[in-house]
């Protein structure tokens, strides 16, 4: 899933200056799971903005709506009528969602309410961790299902580096060294032999932007 975090209210307020009627648009998929842009967060943000307006004597209209997924145009058809009544859309979707909405409704400003952070998963209650960088050349078969590109701060394909101490990372000593985790995992599944073969240099040209696939 894509993990994102809401922008500070101050930044959002500044972004909305000059717009009298705003649609706050949530996304019910990834960003709802990480409590950044689902129906509940749309409600909280709209309520906060309305109260801030009342306190400062403004009187803007904030409409709320959440679609199943902002990154697919089919789900945006519900908005056709609502969009005509507002003069800006504040999207609480990830960067993909914001751009999908902007492409679908080219005549209206679409503003980002979130900072999109990474592809990851919840590892414990309220804690989300990065797991994939979308390198386009997956090597998880050779690293025991643990990605060194996303999880080793140095992105080493032949680790560990000489800096780890007591199984901890030298970049962040509170974290376990990813390559030690890879070693332990391969040992557990009986595939330490994989580590005898040095990995070739990673072909980062597959990460060139923008990428697309045609099925």
């Amino acid at each position: 899933m894509i993990v994102a975090k809401q922008k500070p209210l101050e930044e959002i307020t500044k972004m909305l200056e000059g717009y009298q009627r705003v649609l706050i648009l949530g996304c019910g998929t990834c960003v709802a799971v990480c409590f950044a842009g689902g129906e509940r967060e749309v409600g909280i943000l709209a309520s906060s903005l309305r109260m801030a307006d009342k306190i400062s004597g403004k009187n803007r209209l904030f409409r709320e709506h959440t679609v199943e997924r902002q990154c697919e145009w089919e789900f945006l058809d519900d908005l056709n009528e609502q969009v005509k009544e507002v003069n800006a859309i504040l999207s609480l979707g990830c960067g993909v969602g914001v751009q999908a909405v902007a492409e679908r409704f080219p005549d209206i400003p679409v503003l980002p309410g979130l900072n999109t952070l990474f592809m990851g998963m919840p590892v414990q209650e309220g804690v989300f961790a990065e797991r994939c960088v979308g390198c386009g050349d997956c090597m998880l078969d050779r690293t025991g299902g643990i990605c060194p590109i996303a999880r080793c701060p140095k992105g080493l394909v032949n680790g560990p580096c000489g800096g780890y101490r007591d199984g901890k990372c030298e970049v962040d000593p509170t974290r376990d060294c990813t390559w030690i985790q890879i070693y332990e995992r391969l040992k557990k599944v009986g595939r330490l032999d994989i580590l005898y073969t040095p990995q070739p240099l990673k072909d980062y040209s597959k990460m060139g932007h923008p990428r697309s696939i045609i099925l």
Binding site: L9, E10, R40, G43, I44, S47, S48, L49, R50, M51, A52, K54, I55, S56, G57
Partner: protein
Amino acid sequence: MEHEMISKNQFEPVIVAFCCHYCAYAAADLAGVMRLQYPTNIRIIKLPCSGTIDVLHILKAFEQGADGVFVAGCLKGTCHFIEGNIRAEKRVAQAKAILSEIGLEAERLEMFFVSASEGPQFANVARKMTDKVRELGPSPVKRKR
């Protein structure tokens, strides 16, 4: 304008109290049975557990004109659902941060821990909250309207 002309002492705040079914709600009931006096400004909303409170419920209460809000849950370590009151405490802290950010006094929102046998404590909390909110004056959210 009308609100601003009312002196702070005359002002009767509206305070929404989100009370847990297993403790604070029973304590409020007990306060009544014990014939204890507490301010009539408190509007109680019963929750199945204080852990069911959401930041959105708290903000909606303020948006709709509450001058103060408190959430009352079980004493720490005694929650019927193990840690609902701890979750509620975290959400209250989050809501307080939002209130400060939008320019509303965070003191208008509080979290209390009351057991079902503490009728007098509930009456105390109600008085304390009413006094504090009366001191702060009417919520600017409704005052500016």
